[in-house]
Structure formats: structure tokens, C-alpha cells
Subunit: 421 residues, 2 copies
């Protein structure tokens, strides 16, 4: 007996997952640990930047009014009454025709409103005192960086949901965010099911293969920004799987299983969901690979039943698990980023279903170009290693020729897309 399932479109399946109510949570972590995390709050300027008027060059701080008569034929002389580097403040009061030698980044003396660049001043000593002279006039504000020029206190600088990059780190430090509000990493439980599975350090045995899916999915979970809790592999035995799945669910935010989700004689996940009374959101999607991808919910948590087939597993995770994780990371664009690219190879075999073809996206003279990243048999892990994207080939009666513009989903991306594609 082959169970009948009704496939739903990909968009409908994604919608059913994303309609599930689940929120991200904030935690505060040291700025030193925050690189690569996702901001859970908008970051605002806690002070003006600069927060004082400062010299953007090495030179002499002067009162512009004293320079007005300076000319090639009329050098004007200033007594240099102090010498300050960045981080220091003059204790002198600068009077008419006085100057302070000042280095880049130092605070302007309060009486001064212009900086003469070092190379435009003639420096000399007279009677044990320092002097400099200039041959051109300055306006008030010349070579001064004014308070608030870069940012004003209260400005929103970075939006929540942004992945923290080196520039973000600089801003966090500038504004004193020693503790940074970031999204707590969702904890994603993971089981691989299948009596055929060996561990990575096991020698091969007849009929058995090493478990590669859980290592792959663990990396996909990490890449998405969540944390993985790997519970191990399970044999194709109903009771063992049922107990393991039910108990694991308490420990995680969501649970992923690979394998056991199809209609084979030893595929027990559908029956497990039934016995748990988990509500199945869908168990068949009009897509290749990954048509048997199943998602259910139970007591406020999502269960992702991904295929045991590596390619189907990979695609199922990226289309359905990734966006809900990214939503918990506060991004407003949780879905795979979609772009247009030129197909570089023929893909002539038609297929009635929407296909997601593992592919290698490159740039050719400023244009996006894409080609399948290896043989497209769904059990071939080799093509996954070279994949940085999926080509979306709509289902239908025709194939696709090289040169056709196709939609591509980007895998190594942190910008994302809003739905709908």
C-alpha cells in the first residue's frame, strides 16, 4: 500500500511554517564575543561623534580672525603656546596671535576655530619661545571637525536583525556598547534516522553508509546563525524513534530529523507524528528534490522531518527551517536571497515540478552567471560542496537552454529576502 499524499506548492509550505508563532529572544553578550551574531535591537548613537570639536590634521589651532591679513607678501606670526597630541587638552587660554600645535584627533582649544596644516606653517624659535607664521588667511571652521559631524546622539545607526560585521563592531565600540543586545541563538535539535547509518569514525560495512546528513545539517544550522544539539542517530524502529523524538523536544527550540519521512516500509516519522498528536503542516511539496519534506508542530515547537536523501535534506532545510531561524534572529528578510542570473549550461530535461538545482553562482563581467555544481542526481553529495546557490527551474513541459535568465537563491548570504520571492 502506497500512502497518498497531496503535494502543496512551495510558497504555501513556506507560508505554513512562517505563520507559526515563534519569537526570538534577546541576550546581552560582551562586544568581544559578538562578531557574527545578529542584533536584536536597533543600535543608536549614545553620544555625538565627534563628541568635541577636533583637529582632523596635524597643525596649529588658531583664531581665524587673527589670520585675515596673512598673504604671500604679509606673513602673520603666532606665538605657539602649547603642544598637544590626541587625547590631551590644552590648559592654556589662547589669545590673539597665539596658536597651539595640535595633532590629528586632538580637541580644539575653545578659543580656536581653524587649523593651519603643519606643512603650510613656517616654524621657528625666538628668544627661547616657539613661533610659526603663515602666508594665507583662514575662515572660521577651516580644518575643524565639529562635534556631531559624523553622528548625532539618538541617531539610529544599525537596524536590529543585522549580522554584526567589523564595521558594526567599530560602531558598537564607539558608542560604548560593552554588552551588545543580540538574538539568543535558537537551539536546534538534530537526529539522523536510518539503520544503514554508521558514524564517521566507523569502518564501512556491507549495506551501510556513514551518516553524512547530520554533519551537513549541523553546518547549515550554524551557517544560519543557530546552535545545534545533536542527539545521535536512530535505527529504523518505531518505539525507539518515538521515545527519542518526544524526549528531545523538551530540550530544544525546534527539532530536525533526517530520514524516515517518506512512504517506505521502515519510514516511521509519519506514524510518530500521529502518535504524538503533532499537527502536520504539510507532508508533501510540489518540488524536486525534497518532495517528502514534512513539517509538524507540537506544543509550540516545530518538527522538521527532512528527507534522508542528502540533496533533498539540504534543500528542505534551506527552504523551510532557515527562514524561521532567521526570523528568530530578528531579521525582516529571513528568506533566501533571490537574484536573476544567466544559466550557463543547458538543462534540457523537463520536469513537472519546480526544481531547486544545486549550483555555482559566479560573476562574469559584472553579470551574475550560474551553472549546476555537478551531476544533479539527488543522492550525490559531491555537488553539494561546490554549491553556493540553487537555480530555481519552474515545473513544466520544457527544458532550459544555456543563456536563459533564471532565478537563483543565494546560500552564503546574510542579506536575505522578504517573502514572496
Amino acid at each position: 500500500m502506497v500512502e497518498r499524499r497531496t503535494p502543496i506548492p512551495v510558497g504555501e509550505a513556506v507560508k505554513r511554517v512562517m505563520d507559526f508563532s515563534i519569537q526570538g529572544q534577546t541576550e546581552f553578550i560582551s562586544i568581544n564575543k559578538s562578531f557574527g551574531r545578529y542584533l536584536s535591537e536597533d543600535i543608536t548613537a549614545t553620544n555625538d561623534v565627534p563628541h568635541f570639536d577636533r583637529a582632523p590634521y596635524d597643525g596649529f589651532a588658531v583664531r581665524a580672525i587673527d589670520t585675515k591679513l596673512a598673504a604671500q607678501t604679509n606673513p602673520v606670526e603666532f606665538e605657539v603656546v602649547d603642544h598637544i597630541g590626541a587625547g590631551l587638552i590644552t590648559t592654556k587660554s589662547v589669545e590673539a596671535f597665539q596658536a597651539v600645535r595640535i595633532m590629528t584627533g586632538a580637541q580644539m582649544p575653545s578659543e580656536c576655530d581653524a587649523v593651519v596644516m603643519l606643512e603650510l606653517a613656517k616654524v621657528y624659535e625666538k628668544d627661547g619661545k616657539s613661533f610659526m607664521s603663515i602666508k594665507r588667511p583662514y575662515n572660521s571652521g577651516d580644518n575643524v571637525s565639529y562635534r556631531g559631524e559624523d553622528a548625532k546622539e539618538g541617531d539610529v545607526l544599525i537596524r536590529k536583525g543585522t549580522k554584526i560585521n567589523p564595521g558594526t563592531q567599530a560602531i558598537l565600540a564607539t558608542f560604548g556598547y560593552a554588552k551588545v543586545p543580540v538574538a539568543r541563538k535558537p537551539l536546534v535539535g538534530l537526529f539522523a534516522t536510518g539503520t544503514e547509518l554508521l558514524d564517521v569514525d566507523d569502518p564501512l560495512e556491507p549495506g551501510k553508509i556513514r551518516n553524512s546528513n547530520s554533519h551537513m545539517i549541523a553546518a547549515q544550522i550554524e551557517r544560519t546563525g543557530a546552535e545545534v544539539l545533536y542527539f545521535g542517530k536512530l535505527p529504523d524502529e518505531f518505539e525507539t524513534c518515538y521515545e527519542a523524538v518526544k524526549q528531545a523536544l523538551d530540550k530544544v527550540d525546534m527539532l530536525i530529523t533526517t530520514g524516515g519521512v517518506s512512504v517506505g516500509d521502515f519510514d516511521y516519522l509519519p506514524a510518530i507524528y500521529e502518535k504524538m498528536k503533532a499537527a502536520v503542516l504539510f507532508n508533501k511539496v510540489a518540488m524536486r528534490p525534497g518532495s517528502v519534506t514534512t513539517v509538524a508542530q507540537f506544543e509550540g515547537k516545530l518538527l522538521f522531518g527532512l528527507s534522508g536523501n542528502p540533496s533533498a535534506c539540504y534543500v528542505g532545510f534551506e527552504l523551510y527551517a532557515r527562514p524561521i531561524i532567521r526570523k528568530m534572529l530578528f531579521t525582516e528578510k529571513p528568506h533566501l536571497r533571490k537574484e536573476k542570473a544567466i544559466l550557463e549550461e543547458d538543462f534540457l530535461k523537463a520536469n513537472p515540478f519546480t526544481r531547486f538545482v544545486r549550483s555555482d553562482l559566479t560573476f562574469k563581467e559584472g553579470k551574475l552567471a550560474v551553472s549546476p555544481s555537478g551531476l544533479d542526481k539527488s543522492n550525490i553529495v559531491m555537488s553539494l560542496a561546490g554549491a553556493n546557490s540553487f537555480i530555481i527551474l519552474p515545473g513544466g513541459t520544457r527544458g532550459f537552454e544555456a543563456g536563459t535568465e533564471v532565478d537563483v537563491l543565494l546560500l552564503e548570504d546574510f542579506t536575505g529576502n522578504e517573502w514572496p520571492w
Copy 2:
């Protein structure tokens, strides 16, 4: 007195760094910790995949020869002598007109050479025995995945220098790489210099600013794939800096300082290099920002003296420190990836020097488009947070209009570029 320095072209500066003799090192780490690391050796197939002939579908394994006369009008009957799931092996010897019910991924019985898909067989029982019948013939090999179909033992599957992604993980697991040869992360020491610097958790003081560069550079080091050892900040005092730099160098593979590298009155790095007898590779580059970037070598280690100006610091790291780190990660493409893009905004101010403009690269209808990521004052950290690229604007007497094709360097990329750009 302003010290005279002779600027060299960017390409020459990069070459001087990359000519420096330094090798990456291998360490073996658990596959579970290897996501995001860089392979230090080529990965080869340690066995055929599949390593046995297997069923790619749920169905019945048969001898094709027995099916030859099957037709719509002539169903051929098979006795079903066993029932195996993936991971199991039949103990039966399959004889003429016998079949084994077999699930996806299971090993083919040695006598069988075709699989009848489940939905094409009529299943029934007679006298307590299982039977199935078919109405079409099969050829030897129909619906069988043969040993070695995906990969042959000895095939090189992934090249050294590749960053480990989820697909790579699947391959490593498939071939039993429980310990993975990866590049040891170079340990990069880091000092921020400047009397003006406060720590991130300090309240602001007149004339002082919080140290943002070391947080930014630490993230750039991490993004590149190395590990950072932050030694703290140093005041602008010659002896303090000299001792700190000299002692730190023993503990790291290379050392980065920010600030103190220009020609200001309190910029002591040049004098420190001199007192150490470090060989300066260059101390001025014909570029903006970052012209005072200085690189020296001392006893087999590189010292990067980056500007204290955040933008100059950022650019200096990416152009000169990043490629030598990536080289130590075994990649053959250590430099920033260069692509062509359409400039989306006017950039009309000419500049005699090559400029690296912080920018936001996007895709518009399959084409790369780029625009500056904020005001281009070199002290504005705000624009760094939005930057995923640098626009390269060649030096000259003209500006650049929107619509011009420009070269762009990608910052969030793990593919890289060989030199020369």
C-alpha cells in the same frame, strides 16, 4: 620638520608583503568543529560511493532475465523471499522468479540486477507466501545505483584552501574524515595605540574617544580566518610602546598595531621599528585612505602598522594583512575578490591617488551595482558598517559619473582572487 616618505603603488606594496616567506601549518580537528575552517590538504575519496550496488527506490529487487516476457497481457509472478530496509542485507539467495522487497538505499542482493518500483508491482499472498507480479520487462541495471557511481576511491574531491561549508561537511563524513586536516589559525597580535583612547566601557572624557579600531580589526581578523590576541591599548609614549611591541611579537605569528604610524609628533611606530632594527617593507602607499600604512619584518614575523584612522585602518588590513593570512590558510586565491560593477552615484571629485571607497554592492536584474556606503570622510565609522566592498577609483584628474563601470573588491567573500587584479 615633516619626514619625507616615498609612496609606492598598491600593487608593489602587496607584492612586498606576499614575497615574505611564511607558511601555513596543519592541525587535525574533529569534524564537529571544522565548519568554517580552511582545508590544509586535498580531500580524496577513501572509498567508492556508493560502496555497494544499491536500490535508489523502494521496490523489488529481481533478476532482469526473469522479467523478459512480462507484458500487459502477460503478468510475470515472483515469489517475495525477503524484505530489507536500508542498512540490512538479505541472507537469502535469490533464485529464478524470486524477488526481495527492498527499500531505498538498501544493498542489492548479489543475484539481482534490476529494481521494480513499488507502484509498478501488484502485491498479493497465496498459501501464506508473498508474491508480486509485473507487466513489463526490465533490463539489467534498471533502477540500480552501481558501486562507484558517485565517486571512485582516490578521486580528489575538494582542494586544499577551501573553506569548509555544509556540503564539504557531508563529504568529509561520507569518507570517514573524523579528524579533518585544517590550517591552524594564524595567531594575530593586536595593539591599539593612542593616548586619546578609552575602553568601550569607559565613560567619555574631554578630548578622548573610545577605542573602536581594535574591535573592528579583531572582527576583520576573525572574518579572514585567523585568531586574534588582543594585548590592549598603549599610550603615545615611546618606551612603553617599544617594550610592549617587542615582547608581544614572541607570542604571535604576526602583529598589528593601529595608530602611531604617521608623521605626527607623537607617532612613535617608525622610531620603534628603527630601534628594533625591523626591516621596513614600505611606509607610504599611493592610495587613499591608508597612505601611511607601514609594514615591517622582524625575525621572521610581519608587523603591520595600520593607521589610527578607522577607514584607513580597515582598508590597510584588507589589502595587506588579509592576503598573507589567507595564504597561511592554504588558499591559492588569497586576495580580495575583484569584480566589475556599475557605479550608481556620481563620484565627481578627482583625486591623484587610487581610492578605495567603502561601498555597498548589490545586484540589480542580474547585474552588479555599487554605491558608496555613506559619507566618504575617512574618519566616519558609520559608513563601515554598511560596507561589503570597496570601489577602486583610479587616481587621476577626473571624477566618475553614475553609470560608469568600476572595479569592486568584495569583503564578505571566501573565493578570493589571485594577484594581479
